[in-house]
């Protein structure tokens, strides 16, 4: 047996270490705390650093400092903590620092609860902090992907010099599934922009300040070009039974798993449903949705939120097809049975 049974949160840390990450700064918060605990256990064993910071703000700023040093570094939290980290994430985006931020979403707003929601979509995918920036967002839906996409997150972060999110929910973090690991990557390249505390790198400056309006505009244009490149190159989706689909359901993370079961059941009833699961939320699979809109009659977005991703689908579809929404909030995970019913209604309305 080459697979191990472990929690999503544990798999993230193993994946990060395999990706060459040796520094973790974080603050405990349910349901993300196992990430910190796992990092506390394993980072020192591989010659790395785990540090429980005094606050979410401090932890993201520690990440900022280490990222400025050109090393692979990460932090993790849940919605309330991510809100606090937004300041530092904006600085990291402005200073073009690669780092990985994991958000194990819980119920909000405010203290909300610790059950799984997908209500951080807006603050994570749409920027959250101040300024004209976006961060690539990877949305795993299994424990295997918690590891795999964390590793990918480090690659994307470094390739584009940007913070990258891994966005999952409380259940994906807490649940155990089988996971298989690859070989460690230890050859983190030296970055020509980073500050290493040596003569070679001392001319480098990590900063997000551009006092002159035209210079700041130019910097922002450069950032927008980077986001454009990310859009061109980094879109990732999983498709299920879309080839002849008349109805397209769209969901990410844990919802996509329920939707897969839902589509299977609907297909057995002869209803031509298919699933589009965005794995990257930014970049969002707009092009694929535009293609699908040419053949599908209707779209249904399912989220554990008040309808945040659905806005991106509507933007892509641009009015050419109806886009409906079904959401659960407060930590309720929709069941396949209720989604089947919702989808059947979609067809009934059509007829």
């Amino acid at each position: 047996m080459s697979k191990l049974l472990m929690k999503g949160n544990d798999a993230i840390v193993r994946g990060a270490i395999l990706a060459g990450c040796r520094i973790y700064f974080g603050y405990p918060i349910t349901p993300a705390s196992e990430i910190a605990e796992s990092a506390a256990r394993y980072m020192p064993r591989v010659g790395g650093t785990f540090l429980q910071a005094e606050s979410e703000i401090a932890s993201i700023n520690m990440v900022y400092g280490a990222a400025g040093g050109g090393v692979r570094v990460m932090t993790a939290s849940s919605g309330p903590g991510i809100s606090l980290k937004q300041e530092g994430i904006s600085y990291a985006a402005g200073s073009e620092l690669p780092c990985v931020i994991v958000d194990i979403m819980r119920g909000g707003p405010g203290l909300g609860n610790i059950a799984p929601e997908q209500s951080d979509y807006n603050q994570v995918v749409k920027g959250g902090g101040h300024g004209n920036f976006k961060c690539p967002v990877l949305a795993p839906n299994s424990v295997q992907e918690m590891s795999d996409l964390t590793q990918l997150a480090f690659e994307i972060a470094e390739k584009y010099r940007t913070p990258v999110y891994v966005l999952a929910d409380g259940y994906t973090g807490q649940m155990m599934e089988a996971v298989e690991f690859g070989e460690p990557f230890t050859n983190v390249p030296k970055q020509d922009w980073a500050v290493y505390g040596d003569a070679e790198s001392k001319h480098n400056l990590i900063s997000s300040i551009y006092l002159d309006p035209e210079e700041l505009e130019e910097h922002n244009r450069k950032l927008q070009q980077k986001y454009e490149n990310i859009k061109q190159n980094e879109v990732r989706v999983e498709e299920f039974m879309l080839d002849d689909a008349e109805y397209v359901v769209v969901g990410y993370g844990i919802v996509s798993r329920v939707l897969k079961t839902t589509v299977e059941r609907l297909r057995s009833q002869g209803l031509k449903f298919g699933l589009l699961r965005p794995i990257t939320l930014f970049p969002f699979p707009e092009k694929r949705i535009i293609e699908l809109a040419k053949m599908a009659k209707k779209f249904l977005a399912v989220e554990m939120s008040n309808g945040q991703m659905v806005e991106d689908i509507r933007l892509a579809v641009n009015g050419s097809r109806p886009v409906e929404f079904y959401g659960r909030m407060g930590g309720v995970v929709p069941t396949a049975a209720e989604l089947v019913e919702r989808c059947q209604n979609l067809v009934k309305k059509e007829n």
């Binding site: 047996m1 400092g65 400025g68 300041e87 259940y171 460690p184 500050v195 505390g197």
Partner: protein, 478 residues
């Protein structure tokens, strides 16, 4: 030999190319501003100790936000108040570097209070220069946390009133109360003697870091003639005559003679050692064959529930592990957080031939209830023709439904007879397998290697598996 010339230290850039001003030779500070003196002391110290190449200067938010215009070192600009956190990050990434966190009073003693306190408390091997000029200079003269009582600023137009704004924050005193810092001194820039003292303090604080001694902080009472609306020379007198009364000078802490230098050991691991260290090498290479069992038990969606402390989560995890070993698709989802600590626990386990959709078990095909509230709560949601297993030792009611299979087992009594009531969970787990036939007994025993952390409890849990499995099997419907 002492130098025969005193001139601009080499640790400053020759020209300040990052400064957008057309004048690349003149710093942006106002006439008479103390930042310039401290910059000069720092640059001179870096020259003397030959540290500039290794130095990373953290510029804060405030008048010294452009510190990176001047220091020919590595430079990082930080968010307001976060310089000690940023310094921590880069220092941990590159421990050989010399990290200087240079901060003003708003930055360090107001918005960044948590960051400085905790960086100091961790004894980060960094050097902090704290420029206390009792005012916000950059934003135009508002109250600082260190603004003196009765001092007028644009946000304390009638003078700082302790009843409204509290008292000046005394940073050197505060930081010196912590265990970890090795050197804390307050100095002032107002006459030759005190400037000399300040220069020495700056040197010492940098040297401490190079010597791996730990956290040093120098608070510098520094003139802000513009903010104070004073002539530069008068501002020096104000430090001496007014400011020093509320901020006494002196060495608040100096452990540098006593502490041992500390450098974190370096580690080089092979790929194989890394994999071992992070425990991703499975316990067994063995393949476990699936059993033949009645179709109605296939793809179980299991809910396990009981009191916290009964090993409910572990029971579920063992089932999932057994499923994994027999090459099923499995998932295990716990109740977590306050619910878990509130005294009840439950978990959801899927063991399926096809990939698991939702890991949430809303309508269990199998309920394993280890206490009465769990049976009462979840009995109604078990699917028709499902299976309920419950511990009769602790549950004094019976299953009401007649459309489900029931396996009543005195798991806790059986565990007690074995000598440890804590093994009741494994008895119930094995009873499920024995009753349904879904797992091999050997597979269950293999799962114990992962599930049971304390090796001395392995033998008794193996017995528990045997007992539970036999009990379940004996009740298996023919």
């Amino acid at each position: 030999m002492a130098s025969k010339v005193l001139q601009k230290p080499a640790s400053f850039y020759d020209t300040y190319e990052r400064n957008p001003s057309t004048d690349k030779k003149m710093p942006h500070y106002c006439p008479g501003c103390g930042h310039g003196n401290v910059h000069k002391f720092i640059a001179e110290a870096l020259d003397n100790y030959e540290l500039a190449d290794r130095t990373i200067f953290i510029s804060p938010v405030g008048c010294s936000v452009f510190g990176y215009y001047y220091f020919d070192t590595g430079n990082i600009q930080a968010a307001h108040g976060r310089a000690p956190a940023v310094a921590t990050g880069i220092k941990r990434a590159h421990p050989h570097s010399i990290v200087i966190s240079y901060q003003g009073d708003g930055d360090l003693a107001a918005i960044g209070t948590a960051e400085i306190l905790h960086a100091a408390n961790r004894g980060e091997n960094i050097t902090v220069f704290f420029i206390n000029n009792a005012i916000y200079g950059m934003t135009g003269g508002q109250m600082a946390p260190t603004t003196l009582e009765t001092q007028k600023t644009t946000t304390t137009p009638t003078g700082r009133n302790a009843r409204n704004e509290g008292y000046p924050v005394k940073v050197a005193e505060l930081i010196s109360q912590l265990e970890a810092p090795v050197y804390v001194e307050r100095v002032a820039l107002f006459d030759n003697k005190h400037r000399s003292r300040a220069r020495m303090a700056v040197r010492k604080a940098i040297k401490n870091q190079a010597d791996h001694l730990g956290f040093s902080l120098v608070e510098i009472l520094s003139p802000c003639p513009s903010g104070w609306k004073m002539d530069p020379v008068d501002s020096l007198h104000w430090i001496k005559d007014v400011m020093m009364n509320q901020f006494p000078l002196g060495v608040y802490k100096d452990n540098t003679k006593e502490v041992e230098p500390y450098e974190a050991p370096k580690m080089q691991l092979s790929d194989e050692e890394i994999k071992q260290a992070i425990e991703i090498i499975p316990d067994t290479e063995k393949e476990f064959k699936k059993t033949e069992y009645a179709e109605r038990y296939a793809n179980p969606e299991i809910k396990v529930a009981g009191f916290g402390g009964q090993g409910v989560l572990l029971l579920g995890a063992a089932l999932a592990q057994a499923g994994l070993l027999e090459n099923y698709n499995v998932s295990w989802l716990p109740s977590y957080g306050p619910e878990m600590r509130g005294g009840t626990a439950n978990c959801h386990v899927n063991v399926r031939n096809i990939p698991v959709g939702s890991p949430v078990v809303n309508d269990p095909t199998v309920l394993i209830a280890l206490n009465r509230p769990s049976l009462e709560k979840f009995e109604p949601v078990v699917v028709k023709n499902g299976l309920i297993i419950y511990d009769t030792s602790l549950i004094d009611i019976e299953v009401q439904r007649d459309d489900v299979e029931v396996l009543a087992i005195p798991a806790t009594e059986m565990a007690d007879k074995l000598g440890n009531t804590r093994t009741a969970n494994m008895i119930a787990m094995a009873a499920f397998a024995g009753y349904t036939g879904i797992f091999n007994r050997e597979t269950l025993k293999e799962t114990l290697k992962t599930a049971i952390k304390r090796k001395k409890l392995l033998a008794i849990n193996e017995k528990a598996v045997d007992e539970g499995y036999e009990f379940g099997k004996s009740k298996r419907p023919s």
